[in-house]
Amino acid sequence: MRKTDSLQGSLDLLVLKILSRRPRLHGYAIMSAVHDISGEVLRVEEGSLYPALHRMEEAGWIRAEWITQESGRRARLYQLTTAGKKQLAAEESRWNSVTSAVNRVLRTV
């Protein structure tokens, strides 16, 4: 079963936004958060999450550290950097302008 990728182009924005609210999450928690907060509408494709996280890490927007959880499992936790905060603001305003433009089109036509 394969859902259409409703997150086209917005994965970075969602990850950055979630990390800005809840610092120090591991990959699975980020994925769950997107799923839960969106009212189970949005679903991050697991296969593209990790390459995206690694790309953002290389870009310097987020940084990662290994911890050992209470359960004894090791996990890699991500948090936002200063550069990431700037990037989030930029992505948010871009998203807003795109959605309002799309809305205008929908209302007018």
Binding site: G27, Y28, G47, Y50, E58, R76
Partner: protein, 885 residues
Amino acid sequence: MKSFWSRIANVFQSDHLSREIDEELQSHLAEAAAHGRDPAEARAALGPTLRLREESRDIRLPPWLDSLRADAVFGWRQILKRKVASAAAILSLALGIGACTSAFRLIDALLLRPLPVSEPQQLYALARQGSGPDGQPVTVYSWAYPAFGLMRDAVKDQAELLAISDSDRTDVTYGSDAEMEKAYRQYVSGDMFNSFGLRPAAGRLFTASDNLEPGAHPYAVLSYDYWTSRFARDPNVIGRNFRIGNDLYQIIGVGPERFTGIEPGTVIDIFIPTMMHPAVERSDWTWMRTLARVHPGVSLEPLRARLDAVARAFEENRLTGVSGISRRQMDELLKARLVLEPAAAGISDLQNNYRPALLALALLVALVLLIACANVAILMAAQGTSREREMALRISIGAGRRRLVQLMLLESAWLALFAAVTGAAFAWWSAPLVVSMINPPDNPARLFLPTDGRVVVFGLLLTVGVMLLFGLAPALRASAVQPVSALKGGENPHARRRLMHTLIAAQTAFCFLVLFVAGLFVATFERLSNTPTGFSPDRVLTLETVTLRPQPPAFWDQVADHLRGVPGVEQVAVAGSALLHGWSWNNFISVHGAPPNGVLAYLLQTSPGWIEALRIPLLDGRDFRPADAYPGAALVNQTFAKVYFNGEDPVGKSFEVIFSGGQRLAFEIVGLVGDVTYRDIREPILPQAYFPFHSIDAKGAPRPVGQGTFIVRASGGNPLALASVLRREVSRARPEFRVSNIRAQTEINQSHTIRERLLARLASFFGLVALLLAGVGLYGVLDDSVSQRRREIAIRMALGAEAADVARRVTAPVFFTVSAGALAGLALGVASARSIEALLYQVRPTDLRMLMLPAVTILLASLLAALPPVIRAVRIDPAKMLRSE
């Protein structure tokens, strides 16, 4: 920027990186399981781990660098896989690179490196170009001081002229007379240090005011090197006195650290003002070089013409004073033309003697390097079909052709890297070795061979060039592989064979050239070593002796008599100098008062018994007797009789020697002796006259003598065993006498062939290397060809072909290639021989024997190299081969 470096760092911890990515994915799956998801479903949702890992890796490290790393690792494994071939490739390249770097170090140190003085490019050496007695062009750098003075004053506004004598090794005494030691002395203009922009390391340096009056400035400046080695940089040495001969000098300072004089190959110990030279006022004694520091913006030709005119006027003026010389002879002598030669790298005899030799050696080593490159290219091409299949496979699964070129070049880079490291070690070791080979024991060459940026850059450029030379062709060919035909295994081998044959032809041509040149050098050395000298140098020792003050001739006789009593001594004589020592004394001769015929006679003072000690045949008349004196009696050689007496027996006849200033001294010929070489064994025999060692002045009183050379013939064994005894006995006989240098006459004779011996040895060595490399290359090609054609050979044998037929078929194309290469090499050799003619002696490059030698050698080497593959070919068992295919 941090990100870039972290990515670079990631490349070199890529295993760690992969592990980290895997661990994160594992942790993801564990988390999913903890949330109650089906592990299989979670794994499926994540997708293939391998793809994820690759994707993340590509993000976290630069792909180009990662591929470079991967290819480097792969190339390294390839090299390990073929250990023997790789070692052979690395060794041959290392030899080539090392030899080339070594040659560059020598050429750079001797010929290119600018002197450590300010603005060295403004320096020019004044030389005169004319033709020698045998019509050969000669360049003379020596000048008389008065001529220098005139030229200096004439061009004051355009250039600063500096007088700098040839260096000479002289006897120096710091303490008592018994402690005489050798040091290199150079007379220099007072303003030389200032003009060169040099500062003293201690004390002070000369200024122009230290060089005004002849004989009035007994001061010396030490070189930094000498100060270090002789005085351990003792600052108290300033103000100390020392003696050279009868002159007392005071040390006033030490030169700067890197300045060792202007002669590459000689490190000067002591600098002395030119005004202290005994010949500073003589017009007929040329003893110094003239350097010009040309002021910026001055054009050279007018300056040269001005200097030329002054020099010519001086010479004309001087020759007019020589009575009896005809106008025609004077014109002949005045023909020499003054030239300005760039002297930024200094000027020395070593440079002039070794410039063509080093360039010839550089050519040889460059050829050896080219042969080595061709060889490695052959070895790489001969990996044959297995490599092509690998390339085809890589292309069919999607590797780009650029990536293949990169892969192959990295493999070459490994070879080049190892070769460069080995070669650097070889160059580090061999360059000083070559310098030590041009060291006559009496006058060792000291050449600084710094390993600095210049040498390193040369080595790096050479390595990269070499890598491209042997690696690019196979790399491009590999990338041009057609996957379909290669994978089918039926790839057309012609292209590869053509490449290999081209390489073989080139290799053979270069090898021929190296062998040809080596043959010329070896023949030159042999001819030169076997040149008859007319005397027997065996068992003869020459004792250069000086006295505290000039001593009466009777004392010299007394010392000679004393030496005759030393056990092991057969004969003793004394002469002004040893034959072939390099020293010469010449003058014009007048017979029956007629004007001189323009041929110079070479002169030497000798004692009775000298001709016997050297085994020079007495052809007519008698030897000197103790009562004979100079002027008065003379012995002459056959050439002298030919030149001045039309070959008639001259015994009993007389002649006059004409000195500058018109003084004439008369001599009666008492004996005719055989011809001997006088100054240089390459020269034709010179007309020579010998005069008694005993000199008398105009009143008939004996004239004291300050220096001479005892010629001692030992009765057997190694004459040098007597050296220390003789040295002691001389001073024992008369305490005023000191032996300043002892040389075996054989060693003096050999010192004339040092350059030729060096060239012959090195050229033979490189000839051997070239031959070996060419043989290995040929073997590689033939072996490959037999592997390629084994099916064809098997079929032919099954159809009844003879072994000889098979051998012919396998070798014929290669031998055709080798012959073509050898012919090309022959053409190259004959064409290039002109440029090394100056290095040859009585050897004609077009001599059939000189051309046959490399041809036969290459033929024999080819046969030897072809033997194993041919044996393999004829041993193919057709039944077995055809069944297995």
